[in-house]
C-alpha cells in the first residue's frame, strides 16, 4: 500500500514539474504575448514533453552519453519546474477561476479521480500488450545507453529483439526520460511510460471542456460532450491498455485546432503550425500522413499569394522537419527505408 502511495505521489510530482516547466518556458515566455486563451496555452503545455523528447533525440543522435543527456534534461525540467511552480499554480487557479456551478466541480473531481486511477493502474498493471512491450524495450535500451535504433538499426543482436514499428521514437524517448528519473528512486518498471496514456486522455477531456465552455459560455453544456466522449468503450479500453493513442490523438488535434484558429496567431501562425505539426509527426508515423494532408489543404485554402505563400509554408516545412520529420528523412535515406523499406 505504501508503495502505491509513494508511486502515485512520484508520478504526480513528475508530471506537475514537467507541466510547470512547460508553462514557464513555453507558455509564459513564448505564447504569453500572443494569446491568453486557456485552450491555446494548455495545448502548448501538453506539447512540451514531446518537444523535450525531440531535444533528447538530437542529443542522442550526436552520440552524447545517455546518462548525461537524461541527467541534463532532468535538471533542466526539475529546475525550471520548481522555479515556475508558483506561476503554474496561479495559472491552474485562473483556468478554474470562473467556476460557478456544481456540475463543473463534479467534472473536476471526476477528472482528478480519473488521473489517480490511471496512475494506480500504471503502477499495478503489467506490460502485456505487444506494442507497449516494444516501446518499453526501446525505452530501456535508451536508458541503458544503447542508441542503436536512433542510428537506424532495428535488430538487437545481443537479445534477438527486433523493433517492428514505423514511428519516430518520441513516445519511447519520453517514457525513457520519465523512467530514468524514476530509476533514481528504484521505481522502474515502465511506470512513467504507462502513465502517459492516462495523462493525455485527461488532457483531451480537459481541453475539450475549456473549448466548449468558451464557445457556449454555459458550464453545464461544457460538460455534456465529455459524457459522449467517454461513453465510447474504445476510448476506455485505449486508456487502460496504456497505448500511444491518446498522445497521438492529442497532438494531431492540436494541429487541427491551430489551423481552425489561424487568424488569432497572426504572423506567428506559420511558425506555430510548423512546431505542432513537427511534434505530431515525432509521436506517430500515421500523423505524418495526416499532417501532410492538413498542411496541403491549408496551403490550398490560404489567402496568401505567390512568393509570400511559398515562403511562409517553406518556413513551416522547416519547422516540421526540424522538430520531427528529420527522423523519417534519416530513415528513408540511411535507415530501414521507413514505409518504402521492408519490415
Amino acid at each position: 500500500m505504501i508503495n502505491i502511495i509513494v508511486g502515485i505521489s512520484l508520478l504526480l510530482t513528475l508530471w506537475l514539474t514537467l507541466f510547470s516547466s512547460a508553462n514557464l518556458l513555453c507558455s509564459n515566455m513564448v505564447l504569453g504575448k500572443i494569446t491568453t486563451r486557456h485552450v491555446d496555452r494548455w495545448i502548448f503545455i501538453a506539447a512540451f514533453p514531446v518537444f523535450l523528447s525531440v531535444v533528447i533525440y538530437y542529443l542522442l543522435l550526436f552520440n552524447l552519453p545517455a546518462n548525461f543527456v537524461f541527467g541534463v534534461m532532468a535538471l533542466l525540467v526539475i529546475g525550471t519546474g520548481i522555479f515556475g511552480l508558483p506561476a503554474f499554480s496561479r495559472y491552474i487557479y485562473s483556468s478554474f477561476r470562473h467556476i460557478n456551478s456544481r456540475v463543473e466541480y463534479a467534472f473536476i473531481a471526476a477528472l482528478s479521480f480519473f488521473i489517480l486511477i490511471s496512475f494506480f493502474l500504471s503502477l499495478i498493471m503489467p506490460v502485456y500488450s505487444n506494442d507497449l512491450a516494444e516501446y518499453v524495450m526501446l525505452s530501456r535500451y535508451f536508458i541503458d545507453g544503447n542508441t542503436q535504433f536512433i542510428d537506424g538499426e532495428r535488430f538487437f543482436e545481443n537479445t534477438g529483439f527486433y523493433y517492428i514499428g514505423l514511428h519516430a521514437p518520441g513516445f519511447p524517448l519520453l517514457g525513457a526520460f520519465g523512467d530514468w528519473v524514476f530509476s533514481l528512486h528504484n521505481y522502474g518498471n515502465a511506470v512513467f511510460i504507462k502513465s502517459i496514456t492516462g495523462v493525455y486522455a485527461a488532457l483531451l477531456l480537459f481541453v475539450s471542456y475549456l473549448y466548449f465552455k468558451k464557445v457556449w459560455n454555459r458550464p453545464i453544456v461544457a460538460v455534456m460532450p465529455i459524457f459522449l466522449f467517454i461513453s465510447s468503450y474504445g476510448v476506455i479500453i485505449s486508456m487502460v491498455k496504456f497505448h500511444i493513442d491518446t498522445i497521438r490523438i492529442f497532438t494531431i488535434l492540436a494541429v487541427v485546432y491551430v489551423i481552425l484558429n489561424k487568424n488569432r496567431f497572426s504572423s506567428l501562425y506559420y511558425t506555430i503550425l510548423g512546431v505542432v505539426c513537427g511534434l505530431a509527426c515525432f509521436i506517430h508515423s500515421l500523423n505524418v500522413f495526416f499532417v501532410f494532408i492538413l498542411v496541403f489543404i491549408d496551403f490550398i485554402n490560404s489567402d496568401l499569394r505567390g512568393y509570400n505563400k511559398f515562403l511562409k509554408y517553406f518556413i513551416s516545412a522547416l519547422y516540421i522537419i526540424g522538430l520531427g520529420g528529420i527522423y523519417y528523412l534519416l530513415e528513408l535515406t540511411f535507415g530501414s527505408g521507413w514505409v518504402l523499406g521492408e519490415l
Binding site: M137, F212, W216, V221, F227, L228, F290, I293
Partner: protein, 318 residues
C-alpha cells in the same frame, strides 16, 4: 397566418423529432450489435477477436467501422452526416478553415476505412474531432431557442442516454453464450479462491506463470519467441523473434524462413540443432496466425506452462 403557425410548430418540434431519430439509431445499434455481430465459432482466432471473421463483419466492423463499430465509435459518425450536408450547402457561412478541416476528416475517414480498418484504435482518432464538431454545430443550432423544450436539458439527457446506451451495447456485444458462462464461472472462482490468488501474485515476480518459469529455470538455450516482445521485457534470455503470419524469424543476416521447404521433422531438428532452441514462447492467438506452426507445437512439443495469456512449449524427448 395558418402557414406561419404550422411553420412555427414544426420549428418547435424539430429538436423533439431529432431526439427520436437519434433514439431510434441507438435502439437499432443495440439490436444490431447484440444479435447480428455476436461472436461465433472459434473465438481464439485473431480475426474473431477483432470482430472481422466473416464477410458481413469485415464490412460492418472493418471498412464501415466508423459507422457500425458502435462499441468503439458510439454513433458520432452518423451525426457527422448532417454536419457535412450543412457545410456543403452553407459553405460560405462556415468559412474556409472549417471546410478545409472537414475535407481533411473526410479524406482521413476514407484512409482509415481502406488502410487502417484492421485496428480499431485508428478509428478512435476521429472520435475527439467528431465530438467537438458535432457538439459545436448542435450547440449553435440549439442556441437559437426555437424549441418548446429547454434545449440544454434536451442535450444533457441526450448525452447521458448516449453514454448509458453505448456502454450497454459495448458490454452486450462480442459475447457468446459460453462467454457469459465463463464470466459467471470466473466470478465464482474469484470469490472462492481470491485469497489463494493474492498469495500467488505476491510470490511471483510477474503475474505470468510462463515468464516466471522462464526466469526461475536455468535455460541454457535460446527461446523461440512467437511475436511476443513482452518476452524481452520480462526476461534476460536470448530470444529468436518469429513472425508467424509471414513465417520468418529475424537474424543478424536479415529474415530467414522457417517452415518453407522443410518437413515437420526437419523444422523441429532445425529449431533444436541449428537455432539451439528447445523452448517456444507463444500464445493462443499468435498460434492462430500460422496453423502449421501450431500443429507442429501440438504434435512435437509438450506444454510446459500456461497462464491466462501465454503458453510455453518444450520439445518432446524422443
Amino acid at each position: 397566418m395558418g402557414f406561419w403557425i404550422k411553420g412555427n410548430i414544426l420549428k418547435k418540434l424539430l429538436p423533439l423529432i431529432l431526439w427520436f431519430l437519434v433514439a431510434w439509431i441507438f435502439v437499432t445499434a443495440l439490436f444490431f450489435t447484440a444479435y447480428y455481430l455476436k461472436l461465433e465459432g472459434d473465438v481464439s482466432s485473431d480475426l474473431a477477436l477483432r470482430g472481422l471473421d466473416n464477410p458481413l463483419k469485415l464490412w460492418l466492423h472493418g471498412y464501415l467501422g466508423q459507422f457500425f463499430h458502435f462499441t468503439v465509435m458510439g454513433f458520432l459518425s452518423w451525426l457527422m452526416i448532417p454536419v457535412y450536408i450543412y457545410v456543403f450547402l452553407n459553405g460560405n457561412k462556415v468559412g474556409r478553415p472549417v471546410q478545409g478541416v472537414l475535407l481533411f476528416l473526410a479524406l482521413f475517414g476514407v484512409l482509415i476505412a481502406v488502410k487502417g480498418f484492421f485496428n480499431h484504435r485508428y478509428i478512435i482518432t476521429l472520435l475527439p474531432a467528431y465530438t467537438v464538431i458535432v457538439f459545436h454545430f448542435v450547440g449553435n443550432f440549439l442556441s437559437r431557442k426555437t424549441s418548446i423544450i429547454n434545449p440544454y436539458q434536451l442535450l444533457f439527457s441526450f448525452a447521458v442516454f448516449t453514454s448509458i446506451t453505448v456502454l450497454t451495447v459495448s458490454f452486450v456485444s462480442n459475447r457468446t453464450d459460453s462467454d457469459w458462462n465463463a464470466i459467471k464461472m470466473k466470478y465464482y472462482k474469484w470469490i472462492s479462491a481470491r485469497d489463494h490468488k493474492k498469495k500467488i501474485v505476491k510470490k511471483s515476480a510477474t503475474p505470468f506463470a510462463t515468464i516466471n518459469l522462464l526466469n526461475d529455470t536455468t535455460i541454457p538455450t535460446s527461446v523461440f519467441v512467437n511475436e511476443l516482445p513482452i518476452f524481452y521485457y520480462y526476461t534476460n534470455l536470448k530470444g529468436i523473434y518469429y513472425n508467424p503470419l509471414y513465417d520468418f524469424y529475424y537474424s543478424a543476416h536479415g529474415k530467414v524462413k522457417l517452415l518453407e521447404d522443410r518437413s515437420d521433422n526437419e523444422v523441429v531438428a532445425y529449431l533444436t540443432d541449428s537455432l539451439n532452441c528447445r523452448f517456444v514462447f507463444t500464445s493462443k492467438s499468435k498460434n492462430s496466425f500460422n496453423p502449421r506452426f501450431a500443429d507442429i507445437l501440438q504434435s512435437r512439443f509438450d506444454t510446459l506452462a500456461k497462464d491466462s495469456y501465454y503458453l510455453l512449449f518444450v520439445v518432446k524427448d524422443d
